[in-house]
Symmetry: C2
Subunit: 385 residues, 2 copies
């Protein structure tokens, strides 16, 4: 099957690098290859360009350059956000594996979500103890697309911080959010979100893979995960990924520029596909918060079907779609997110995560919808025989 | 000054990405952008190509694919090598900042070196205690180019391991070596070196920056530094850097292919430059082990001169050269390596690290030598006035 025949419905798992992003990175593999820590002026120029890329990124999220720590992706950023913490941590039960794994090293409470995958800020409030130092909530769930009420959760943290201050209790409490899945579709300015730390991933917004960052509000104390030459203000050592930072800046600039129009465009395409599938299959179950959902995401279950089998059939016809997240899918275990929202196993096991993006146009939605309907119909016929 | 006029004498700090390496990486930013953990066959193809790149790398160092952990560079690899360790560690005092920083978190002994920067395997032996779990020695020092007797040190570790086995002591002891500075010039096959863990850095061998690996001999127990989706056998989570691994494999393949001829070529060029400078300046002090030195490295001191000033003048004439390592140079502190080999401050402060590589040809050596002699002469005249 040729590339042109592929209908890619898995933008939440990976995105191709934008041509403009690649072009911006190119010089740093060639003539501008210098180590930004070297003392001569061509290297100092490279350092300035690296810092200027960080300035650009900082501006886009409403932070400052010296609050950014460049990393090798969201997973590392999340680990770094947790690394300064000795006390208790709170996170929704539907968080990404990286958050759950980092939390598991510490005293932690996982907070339930409702059937839409939404966490209740009151539940966060209840889970906070005097020892709580970190609350970590993804801006949007990678499987369902459900957008969490981060600003309301931030208000809970702020109230707790005030309470501690009033009592002369110096223990800090921070709010971290992984916005990897929201960038390019919703507002990720840190002042709007009210977070103390923000994780971003270039690989999810048409930038290079293995490039990410942790924005850390001035005053937040962290411990480095990787020690060495002292780069990134000592928080993350290693020769800087200049090409990566330049590429991430360009990717985020494009994501920000087209954010509103892309959200409107994808929402219309997503809703069209959703309506068609729901009209065609009475038994279909759409998950995620109807009004608080990324425009890119459609999580839909076909009770009784085997999603892994379905994916195989769809792939043979050029439609690439995921069951749950790529990480979990790879291990053949049932998604912890679907369990958390209370999907029955026979519903959960028939779930597709369809995620749209730049590669999705009207034609892809039309033809993809046709193929989905044919293959789902055929699978239902097969099991009813 | 145009790129063509630059004489780059700092290959130990950074290398440009080879054209062939870039070409090999290109498809993975575009049409082969899939997440290797996704379940459909185009993604499985990408996974196979990722694993095949790891196979290629493993073959070049004489290891197995499942013994490789891909990382974001040597600094992370070193941190990972140390992460499994609770006991005592031993390292030469001349190690890279990443080793010194990782060691500083643990009970540790730093072993002295001789005036050439060589560590004596007997000193390693003396430093080992019953609690020692890790010995970490760089294959070649990044400032001096001095090549350490890794195989002899490996024999010391092996004897200690045998001793513990005989006594029924289950505490492990491992040898780790950072071979970032040796790859492409000397034999880095793990069986020849006798190491249990090996760090490599693509950015030093004309591959992409922020790509590295830790080879971990089967049976060595490590603890992950970065937790999450469980990639790299759980030792290093995060979506795989497919383009990076493909690029590193190609870079190491080229490095291996041209290793012997390049070592001969660079040694002749280096020796020519060294002889000229030593003949011209009686006071010049060449450091590093005369017969155990990377062919690329010339560490030379001009007592009484201010190397930072000299570098500035050389740069104005297009000659790019370092004082000590790029990391240390950036902080304006005196190199701990030069202190360790006993250089007097007035000698150390007049030190240049000249490191040759693919961008170095006869003409660069001739013209670079002319400029070096003119500028050093001029600086000596200035201070003698």
């Amino acid at each position: 099957m040729s590339q042109a025949d592929i209908i890619y419905f898995d933008h939440a798992a990976a995105t191709p690098v934008e041509e403009r992003v690649l072009r911006a990175m190119q010089p740093y593999w060639g003539e501008l290859f210098y180590n930004p820590s070297s003392p001569y002026s061509p290297a100092l120029d490279v350092r300035r360009q690296y810092e200027s890329a960080k300035d650009d990124i900082a501006r886009l999220i409403g932070g400052r350059r010296d609050e950014l720590v460049m990393t090798a992706g969201a997973t590392e950023s999340i680990n770094l956000a947790f690394a300064g913490c000795n006390g208790h941590v709170v996170a929704p039960v539907t968080e990404h594996q990286a958050v759950l794994a980092a939390a598991s090293r510490l005293d932690h409470t996982l907070v339930k979500v409702d059937r839409y995958g939404l966490v209740d800020p009151d539940d966060i409030k209840q889970a906070i103890t005097p020892e709580t130092e970190l609350v970590s909530v993804a801006l949007a769930n990678n499987e369902l697309g459900t957008i969490q009420p981060i600003a309301e959760i931030a208000a809970v943290i702020k109230a707790e911080r005030q309470r501690r201050m009033d009592q002369g209790d110096a223990r800090p409490i921070y709010l971290h959010s992984d916005a990897s899945q929201g960038a390019g579709l919703i507002d990720i300015r840190v002042s709007r979100l009210g977070v103390d730390m923000l994780t971003l991933n270039a690989g999810k917004v048409y930038g290079p893979k293995q490039v990410g960052l942790l924005w850390v509000r001035a005053g937040v104390e962290l411990r480095p995960v990787v020690l060495g030459g002292g780069q990134e203000r000592g928080l993350r050592s290693g020769t800087e990924n200049v090409a990566g930072a330049i590429g991430m800046a360009e990717a985020l600039r494009l994501a920000d520029k087209h954010r509103k129009s892309e959200a409107v465009r994808l929402e219309a395409l997503r809703d069209k596909l959703q309506q068609r599938l729901v009209a065609e299959f009475d038994e279909a179950v759409v998950s995620g918060a109807p009004k608080k959902r990324l425009a890119s995401h459609l999580h839909i279950s076909f009770p009784g079907l085997d999603a892994e089998r379905l994916i195989f059939r769809l792939e043979a016809r050029g439609v690439l779609v995921a069951t749950g997240s790529a990480c979990a899918a790879n291990k053949g275990t049932r998604s912890h997110v679907l369990t958390a929202i209370g999907l029955e196993p026979e519903v959960a096991d028939g779930s597709l995560r369809i995620s749209l993006g730049k590669l999705t146009d009207e034609q892809a939605i039309q033809r993809g919808g046709d193929i989905l309907i044919e293959e789902i119909t055929s699978e239902y016929e097969r099991i009813s025989r």
